[in-house]
């Protein structure tokens, strides 16, 4: 199965929803030689260990749990003639589409006309969050816990605390339940959960305390986690006995290949910098799915893969303009967490463009896209962090942008 050739038309790095949907769409459009490179022993990406629903509504018109959904994606891809190389790690990317691979047989190289980065996303570990304390056993991310429980049938603790209240945080309550782990509390710094407010009822239903306005200060324990120290809303320090800490959410793109390679990185999204076609700073490289930004649903990534495939086909047919000059979209507003794409490339065939935007905090006001001091378009928002915001630039506005040739700035006015 792993008979990887020396060269191929399109090499896709990562076999999650985005990678597989890109591959499937490319095959459907008649691209012969599509290889998906997967470093794990099984394909499907993060949904493999998301033991919850709903997955697959948009893709398969029915509801799956994560592992089943991942299997369905892989089955569809293989049926379309997509070739998947498992247990194969891309260790570096280079100009010209050259990939260096590590396999069980040693190092190989693969030369592709187009390369797609669909390496997905992971959670920020304890270290990046600069949490105080020693390094006892029992500290992990929700994703690591999921794979430990669902893929290895192991459990690292019995009574952990859960840090964060994003969707994945609630999903980790479910993961715990599957393994008969009883979380002690769910801890959130803000007044309300990052995910939907009604979800704060869910842990309570499972017998887990939801502590809002509470901040993790320190992890206590040397060999194993013994307790955590938290600061409550009133500024008091409290100790919660527990034997584990699950850090959930605060996703970050797994964009190491781009960062260690030659591609530009956006310091806001932490993913590769792309134009409206998902093209990276080296136009032979594309990116799709959650490697672009933290974080979207599997269905969204799946659609992104289909769109990216379209642009790759145009690129292979040389109908996608390659122009060194393009327009940058920047922001200096502390309210704006990121904006993807970060660049607009000139094209003959002008189409509308959707900007994906996220906020750093709860905000209400007006988003405006400016070329110097001329407002190109605007969008009224009233939103929370981690919620999808789409700002559409119409065809006419795109024409205006291309004729002005000015770089763009995304601004926010409001509270």
């Amino acid at each position: 199965m792993n008979n990887i050739p020396k060269s191929c038309e399109v090499a896709i790095i990562g076999s999650g929803p985005a990678g597989l949907s890109t591959a499937i769409a490319l095959k459907k459009q008649g691209i012969k030689d599509v290889w998906v490179i997967e470093r794990f022993g099984d394909a499907g990406g993060n949904p493999r260990h998301c033991g919850h629903s709903p997955f697959g509504m948009r893709e398969f018109k029915r509801v799956y749990f994560g592992p089943k959904y991942a299997k369905q994606l892989v089955k569809t891809a293989l049926k379309q003639g997509v070739k998947i190389a498992l247990n194969t790690t891309v260790v570096s990317i280079e100009k010209g589409g050259l990939l260096t691979l590590s396999t069980e047989e040693g190092v190989k190289t693969l030369n592709a006309k187009s390369v797609v980065l669909s390496t997905g996303i992971r959670e920020k570990p304890r270290s990046v969050r600069l949490i105080s304390g020693q390094r006892p056993l029992g500290i992990m991310t929700a994703g690591a816990l999921q794979s430990m429980v669902y893929l290895s049938e192991n459990k690292p603790f019995e009574r952990p605390v859960i840090i964060g209240s994003e969707l994945v945080s609630f999903s980790s309550v479910a993961t715990c339940r599957h393994a008969s782990i009883k979380p002690v509390a769910m801890i959130e710094e803000n007044a309300r959960p990052t995910a939907w407010a009604f979800l704060s009822l869910y842990p309570r239903l499972q017998g887990v305390k939801f502590l809002n306005k509470t901040r993790l200060v320190e992890i206590i324990g040397k060999k194993r986690v013994e307790a955590v120290r938290v600061e409550t809303a009133s500024g008091q320090l409290e100790t919660i006995q527990c034997d584990g800490v699950i850090f959930t959410g605060q996703f970050t793109p797994e964009a190491s290949l781009a960062r260690l390679g030659h591609l530009d990185i956006d310091t806001l999204s932490n993913g590769p910098l792309v134009d409206q076609f998902g093209r990276c700073s080296d136009t032979r490289f594309f990116a799709s799915g959650n490697v672009l930004r933290p974080v979207e649903t599997a269905a969204w990534c799946w659609q992104e893969g289909i769109d990216t495939a379209q642009h790759i086909v145009s690129s292979l047919n040389q109908t996608l303009d390659v122009n060194e000059k393009n327009i940058k979209i920047a922001t200096r507003s502390p309210v704006i967490k990121f904006c993807v794409p970060q660049r607009l490339s000139y094209t003959q065939d002008i189409k509308k463009v959707d900007l994906q935007i996220r906020l750093t905090r709860k905000a209400k006001g007006l988003l405006g896209l400016y070329a110097k001091n001329i407002k190109i378009c605007e969008k009224r928002i009233s939103g929370l962090p981690e919620r999808r915001i789409i700002m559409t630039i119409s065809v006419d506005e795109m024409k205006l942008i291309f004729s002005s040739k000015e770089n763009l700035e995304l601004r926010f006015e409001g509270s």
């Binding site: 990046v128 430990m148 049938e153």
Partner: protein
């Protein structure tokens, strides 16, 4: 497992398998002595040795004519001599002692003079312009610097591990989970009672690091130094940061501390640290948010581009400092006992030199041994980026840790053999597994399976009756 080894009489028992204990075991074994090493922890390098800055020092700024300076010079030379045969890496970085104020700039002359006095004659003064030419990513605020071309970076774990493995390969014995509880010297030999049974030897060498003064007190009823634990916290940046600098960036030291260093590691990351915090506890290597934030700010002040790079890891180490500026190495003739205390910041470089120094001290009074004619060399897992990593080789059984590219074969090797990893920490130090940017997000599950049954403190245990649907 209890042992009764009182029938065999070792020439020396080394207490403590930190960097110094490992180098000591190697030196004494190669010189022909029979050696037993006692380590109270589940694995070697579990105390002060687990968190340092991995620099191979020339000793340019050490106190001239000190024991420390002598050991650094000898240790440095021996490392360079043996490293090829032991497959130990060397990052030929060089160092810059950087001045950021006019006051600091004025101190450079003195540092240069000290370097000359210490025999580091290739150190030279650079202007701001020359400094920035050498290190373009350095903040343009730099005023001047001293270039020390032979300050290098090494792999802080493989080096001492190889010292110990070579000792074992040539006959030394290592007992882990063996804490010394009491000891008697009868004028001829020592009888030590440990948590793993009783052992006998002619000479005891105290390499107990952070507990050195306590061991002296336990066995001699006196000690000539007092350990004053000094904690150092570090930040580790993503491998992408290693493009930013070539040299080790040192500050101008003050009376209290050598200050915050920015340097590459043998594993391709960039390190910022340490702090210098006096504390009571000898085993609390906690990191603290405020100190880490301060280090982050300091790093960005020195290399502005660090602001755009992710942090991979944080850690803290505890240096066994004492009330004295120099190492505290002393022989107690009437007791056949040598105490090797107060080996702080420079221990990684100094270890091989310290071992030579102590062996000389020992052999001037004790019986003579026949040095090994052709010592055996161990094979280890090469984990530094510059080495022949296993992921490049055939039959590696696939990568498990995707950030550090640690293979299944490497993990299996580290869990078996003459000195298998006794804990996850030990496995990390042998292979670097989980030490990369995801800190175990991708590999914890497989790792929990691969390590099942190997550790006293397991990573995880099986879900009873399987996972509920």
């Amino acid at each position: 497992m209890k042992i009764q080894e009182t029938s065999s009489n070792y020439d020396v028992i080394i207490v403590g398998a930190g960097i110094v204990g490992c180098a000591m075991a190697r030196r004494f074994t190669l010189e022909g002595a029979s050696v037993l090493v006692l380590e109270k922890s589940t694995d070697i390098l579990d105390g002060a040795s687990k968190g340092n800055s991995a620099i191979l020092h020339t000793g340019f700024d050490a106190p001239p004519n000190s024991v420390e300076h002598g050991c650094i010079v000898e240790g440095y030379q021996e490392y360079i001599q043996i490293r090829a045969k032991l497959n130990l890496p060397l990052l030929e970085t060089g160092a810059l002692v950087t001045a950021w104020t006019h006051a600091e700039e004025n101190l450079l002359e003195g540092i240069l003079a000290k370097a000359q006095l210490n025999g580091v004659v290739d150190a030279k003064l650079l202007s701001a312009k020359q400094t920035l030419l050498l290190e373009p990513e350095l903040s343009s605020q730099v005023k001047a610097a001293i270039h020390v071309p032979r300050e290098f970076v090494i792999d802080p774990w493989t080096a001492p591990t190889v010292y110990m493995l070579q000792a074992i390969k040539n006959g030394a014995k290592l007992l882990r989970n063996a804490e010394v509880k009491s000891g008697e010297f009868n004028g001829d030999y020592w009888l030590l009672k440990t948590t793993r049974g009783s052992v006998k030897c002619s000479t005891v060498i105290n390499c107990a690091g952070l507990y050195g003064d306590k061991l002296d007190a336990l066995l001699l009823n006196k000690t000539s130094f007092e350990i004053r634990p000094r904690k150092g916290q570090f930040l580790v940046y993503d491998k992408a940061a290693s493009r930013l600098i070539k040299s080790i960036i040192l500050p101008v030291p003050n009376d209290i501390t050598k200050g915050v260093v920015v340097c590459r590691t043998a594993f391709g990351n960039v390190l910022v640290g340490p702090t210098a915090e006096e504390q009571q506890s000898r085993d609390d290597a906690s990191v603290t948010r405020d100190a880490l934030n301060a280090l982050k700010a300091k790093g960005i002040e020195i290399i502005p581009a660090l602001a755009n790079l992710p942090i991979t890891a944080t850690y803290a180490g505890i240096r066994p400092a004492t009330q004295f500026k120099d190492y505290c190495i002393e022989r107690f003739d009437d007791k056949n006992y040598i105490s090797v205390g107060g080996i702080r910041s420079t221990g990684l470089t100094g270890a091989l030199g310290i071992a030579q120094y102590v062996f000389k001290m020992y052999s001037s009074a004790s019986k003579k041994h026949q040095p090994l004619g052709s010592p055996l060399y161990p094979s280890v897992i090469p984990i530094a980026e510059s080495e022949k990593r296993d992921w490049k080789q055939k039959g590696n059984e696939g990568i498990v840790c995707h950030c550090e590219w640690v293979t299944q074969r490497e993990i299996k090797k580290a869990l078996t053999g003459v000195m298998p990893a006794g804990s996850l920490e030990g496995l990390k130090r042998r292979t670097r597994v989980t030490m990369g940017r995801c800190q175990g997000f991708y590999c914890s599950a497989q790792l929990s399976q691969l390590t099942e049954g190997y550790f006293k403190e397991p990573i995880a245990k099986p879900v009873k009756g399987g996972v509920n649907e």
